[in-house]
């Protein structure tokens, strides 16, 4: 079959909402785009463990500690599901990790902000996981089967993440004035970076159009951001804390909240590596990987030895 014919067939399948599976024919650019998107997503899950891991030993109660630990474990699982999905496209785990560690691959910029107070665990669960859910729910219907299936599993697990974060925020905002001020401060610091999580405005976004055609993106960045704002404003009202945006107001005509301009200079600075924690995060990742090297080697050596013994016994 000629390539154009294959490509037509491929697009028809996608238009008919059929899923593409690993061994099916796919355009090279589809494969490359997916590897980039899925691995970037996997890296975000793994790097995302660091800012929260920072508070596990200092959680205020055993209940909070158990929940935070479980959440961070879940994120490790999410990373694993996604790496495996990327590997079905013919790229090795080692290559993916190498791309992260050399800075060739990106991860979500939100994780380059510091977690300086316990309230940040609340704000992250509520806002960062909340924004992630907005992004991830439509991806459960992504055209690539292994990616969509990984997202279904992930989305099931995410809802507890957001709820435990909101509960932390709720406890703080119903607490002493100092505790309420902590919750407000965390919201102040995490609000704008959370809005940036959806990526550049549609007009600036390079990949959107093709990705929408391939159904590896179902909504544009701006559509998802708007959904997030609309969902989150009433939640802040329940908490009784104020979203740090003087331009935020309900627009009757649009049926949506209007919100202020995002500081894209800050966004691009953090993407380029100049955020408050970029260096620290990369160092922690690389150290964990290098420190684990002897364990991976020893486990493999042990496994090889065991299987050798087994063949000798049989012989």
């Amino acid at each position: 079959m000629r390539t154009t014919h294959l490509e037509d067939n491929f697009q028809q399948k996608i238009d008919a909402e059929e899923r593409i599976e690993p061994k099916d024919w796919m355009p090279e650019t589809y494969r490359k785009t997916l590897i980039r998107q899925i691995s970037q997503h996997a890296h975000s899950e793994i790097v995302g463990m660091l800012p929260e891991g920072n508070w596990i030993t200092r959680a205020p109660t055993l209940r909070r500690k158990a929940a935070l630990l479980a959440k961070v474990q879940d994120e490790a699982g999410h990373g694993l599901y996604l790496y495996c999905a990327a590997e079905t496209l013919g790229v090795s785990r080692d290559t993916l990790l190498d791309e992260l560690h050399t800075g060739k691959a990106k991860y979500s910029s939100i994780f380059n902000y510091p977690t300086i107070a316990w309230a940040d665990m609340g704000a992250i669960g509520w806002l960062v996981d909340g924004a992630a859910i907005m992004n991830q729910v439509p991806l459960c219907r992504a055209s690539y089967g292994p990616y969509a299936r990984a997202m279904v599993r992930i989305c099931k697990e995410e809802s507890f993440h957001q709820r435990q974060g909101f509960e932390i925020m709720l406890t703080l905002s119903k607490g002493t004035p100092t505790q309420k001020a902590m919750a407000q401060d965390a919201l102040n610091r995490w609000w704008w970076p959370s809005l940036m999580m959806f990526g550049p405005n549609d007009a600036e976004s390079q990949h959107t159009e093709q990705s929408v055609r391939w159904k590896i993106k179902r909504f544009t960045n701006d559509e998802l951001r708007q959904k997030f704002v609309d969902a989150t404003v009433p939640q802040a009202e329940i908490l009784g804390i104020t979203i740090p945006d003087p331009d935020l107001k309900w627009n009757e005509e649009r049926g949506h909240y209007d919100f202020g301009a995002i500081n894209w200079d800050e966004f691009w600075q953090v993407v380029k590596g100049n955020g408050p924690c970029n260096q620290e995060r990369m160092e922690a990742r690389i150290k964990a990987h290098e420190d684990g090297e002897w364990v991976r080697e020893a486990a493999m050596a042990y496994a090889n030895k065991q299987s050798q013994k087994l063949t000798e016994q049989v012989a």
């Binding site: 599976e21 061994k23 099916d24 024919w25 479980a70 474990q73 879940d74 490790a76 699982g77 694993l80 599901y81 495996c84 590997e87 090795s92 785990r93 080692d94 190498d98 299936r149 990984a150 599993r153 697990e157 090297e293 991976r296 080697e297 486990a299 493999m300 042990y302 496994a303 065991q306 299987s307």
Partner: protein
């Protein structure tokens, strides 16, 4: 990237007794014992299973999607294998 990469395993989970094992995903492990333990830790953190199978991915033989038309062709024209193919009177209930 100096060390040898751990082999890939496919994970199958029986969600409760009486049901088939179903493909849940995959993971890397040094051997089958580690694969089982890791599968428990990533795929059944919320009691999603009562039994796990793991098999090294390289041992799975799969049909080729490019040939699937020809491969599955023999079943296409055999509608008489389905109960609805047979014309029976309406009076006959429950058959």
């Amino acid at each position: 990237m100096s060390a040898e990469e751990w082999p890939l395993f496919e994970v199958f989970i029986r969600s409760k007794s009486g049901l088939h094992h179903k493909h849940a995903g995959s993971l890397h492990a040094a051997d089958a014992t580690m694969a089982l333990e890791n599968a428990r830790d990533v795929y059944t953190r919320r009691q999603e299973g009562v039994s796990i199978w793991v098999v090294e991915s390289k041992h799975i033989a799969a049909s080729d999607p490019a040939d699937s038309d020809a491969f599955f062709e023999p079943a296409k024209d055999k509608i008489y294998r389905h109960p609805t193919f047979y014309d029976l009177p309406d009076e006959l209930k429950h058959m």
